[in-house]
Symmetry: C2
Subunit: 419 residues, 2 copies
């Protein structure tokens, strides 16, 4: 039997009625002759509640216990989904991550999938089971402890299963009907894309568009998994949603495909550090060890003998997710106490946002950066940090200008029109 | 190091403040030099919510999925408790049932503990861990699926750990400060008992007193585990709570120690069945197979050739927990369809309650039954079914008279006075 993977996000399984609605959709695919693997998230709100409790107990929590706590929401949904399918006379059972077993690294709260042995579930398919319901987001470490894959990790679970079972397609059911040129809540002119290249989706996801977890797209690209994002609240058609696919299948050739943004950024500046070879490694090594995901980095022009320092000194600015800021501060202060780095003070600015323009067409269209900077300048928006890649340009700006910037850029690149 | 087992029920871990309060109490025992095994229930209300969802999906749910769903609450509390202890600088970690592994039978939702290998946790104690926090109520079957031990199963988990680790004592922290002569909410004259015999506790628990799960007391009796029930809301003293112990240690010698009651009973009557050898087995076999816990059984006097039946006919009445009634009806109707039994109709009465007087002194005091029946008769309460054992007498009555019966019996046996 061909295998189909269907993933339902938190809002698609928010209560028993929605679980039933999702189960009916699973039933449609079973009737078509698929063996279906359903990946479920926790009911919406549940994971946030659990995360909130852990953080209230301690800002420097043991990630192994965090994982044991926050993985529980998915287990509930998996069981309820299996029961709902059984009630519809569809043979189904649930699997928790450790039961599959979905084996991961020991990097708790951000574990990577190492292996998904298919025999266990395939044996049940061979016995007549039609649907395997798997709790998303979780796995088991080599030490036998529960791990989680990071927020949105259920998408990655879904794609990994699609790859492991050589599935015909991986459908991601969510609360939006596809991928948009930008968030419609910020720009009413936002337009749904029928197709988007893996690379673009990767930039959009990692830049905070949040439709799909970054790693799920990486994984889909690596294993060439057909990935479809669609709404669980609309009747599905053959053209529903957005297909995330290889760029060769994309006919549109606009310079920019979408505008991404992220509010959850913190800008941190180490004031007056030594400007010497190895200083960047001395700073970012401890941050990496502490699990801080540093994003943009800017080093100021060096000033020799500034304020009596013997060698050259400079400032170093970087950005990271706001919820890793305390961890970053601790890591840097610890490194200073251990004598590994010197700095006068550490300034943190949480009133910033990141805005990015993304498009594979950028490679062949010149002047995208110039048009972006002029657009922001015309609106009186000051750029604090700039970072670029082959298919995206990102800027850090004052958070209060974020919506304005997104709307102005959406207009400037004429994203309301299809190519 | 001597090992102490401490079990915290749902109200004792209902929120983060209460978990902290419980953790402090654990810290006191750690400071005394104990290696502590903490068994936790789900936060109060959580398990009921999960059970409600499962039952809403299907009254004839798959017990394996039920177990996977309802066991999740304990996992959350175990992780939060471990984090709270760590925050107090007490080395701790959590274990879910399958991680210990706490091996049970495959009787889902009512599994029995088969084995608790101690090496895993003992190895961590040897490494300097001071507290093992274990999710109560759950285990793993030989097939690798999650099992639960039945409602209140965390008490059984606690006693089983106390036996497996040869613990010095097993303290059950709950929302009451001990075992009472009856529920103080029903009779304001109820009095706390300092000690109670295992056998009496067994009858009180199985009859619905609900302070401890029946099997936990059986297990404590079998392995001679010192069991103490005490409140997590009062400062503990050496005489706090109630010690559940061997009857040789009980000095009191009243005929009756306590009055138990249960609202959650259903009375079922099979009307006009054949009165032949083997008929009881034909009826109660299918009920046992369906997992129905039949409690009291009464068979009416036989009437020969009643309503044209060839052989003698009779009625059979039994009681079972109200939530197993549908299951019982299904099992009996299936058995009738399969031609295994014949009956005219099945009458179910859920407006009944069970009231029992319990006491090891009953063995040496005559006239307890007579006094009980007279007391109820004086109050105008009709007895529907009677059942007796060596140390208890139970009656099924109309539910509306339950409180009245309990109060009248508490007075009649002078339970407000200590012996």
């Amino acid at each position: 039997m061909p295998v189909l993977v269907m993933k339902f996000g938190g809002t698609s399984v928010a209560n028993l009625d929605r679980i039933k609605r999702a189960a009916k959709r699973v039933g449609v695919e079973v009737a078509k002759g698929y063996d279906v693997i359903v990946i479920v998230s926790a009911m919406s709100g549940k994971t946030n509640e659990l995360v909130g409790w852990v953080q209230e107990i301690s800002p420097f929590y043991d990630a192994r216990e965090y994982d044991a706590v926050v993985s529980s929401g998915e287990n509930v949904t998996a069981g309820l989904m299996a029961l709902t399918l059984q009630e519809m006379d569809i043979p189904a059972r649930s699997w928790q991550g450790w039961q599959v077993p979905l084996i991961t690294t020991s990097a708790h709260s951000a574990a990577r999938i190492e292996d998904i042995p298919a025999d266990n579930i395939n044996a049940k398919f061979a016995e007549g089971m039609k649907v395997a319901v798997v709790a998303g987001f979780q796995g088991i470490s080599p030490e036998g402890r529960i791990t989680t894959l990071g927020r949105g990790g259920s998408d990655t679970t879904a794609v990994a299963f699609a790859a492991a079972f050589n599935a015909e397609r991986c459908d991601i059911y969510t609360d939006v009907d596809g991928v948009y040129t930008t968030d419609p809540r910020v720009s009413p002119k936002a337009r749904k894309l029928d197709k988007i290249a893996f690379e673009e989706m990767l930039e959009l996801a990692s830049l905070g568009a949040k439709v799909l977890q970054t790693r799920s797209v990486e994984l889909a690209m690596r294993y060439n998994v057909k990935l479809r994002v669609l709404s669980s609240f609309e009747e599905p058609t053959d053209t529903a949603g957005t297909l995330v696919c290889d760029e060769e299948l994309i006919m549109e050739s606009k310079a920019v495909s979408g505008i991404a943004f992220s509010r959850d950024e913190a800008k941190m500046t180490l004031v007056t550090i030594e400007d010497r070879p190895g200083i960047a490694a001395a700073i970012f090594g401890p941050l990496a060890d502490a699990g801080v995901n540093v994003d943009m980095i800017v080093q100021n022009v060096s000033e020799t003998n500034y304020q009596g320092h013997a060698g050259g000194v400079t400032d170093m600015t970087f950005s990271c997710p706001v919820d890793q800021m305390k961890r970053a501060e601790k890591a840097l202060n610890d490194a200073r106490e251990a004598g590994l780095i010197k700095f006068d003070r550490l300034e943190a600015d949480t009133d910033v946002a990141k805005v990015s323009v993304v498009g594979i067409g950028m490679r062949s269209h010149a002047g995208v950066a110039a048009r972006m900077f002029k657009t922001l300048s015309d609106e009186g928006i000051n750029i604090k940090v700039i970072a670029t890649s082959e298919i995206k340009i990102s800027v850090l700006i004052d958070r209060k200008y974020m919506e304005l910037a997104v709307q102005a850029l959406h207009d400037a690149f004429e994203l309301e029109k299809s190519a």
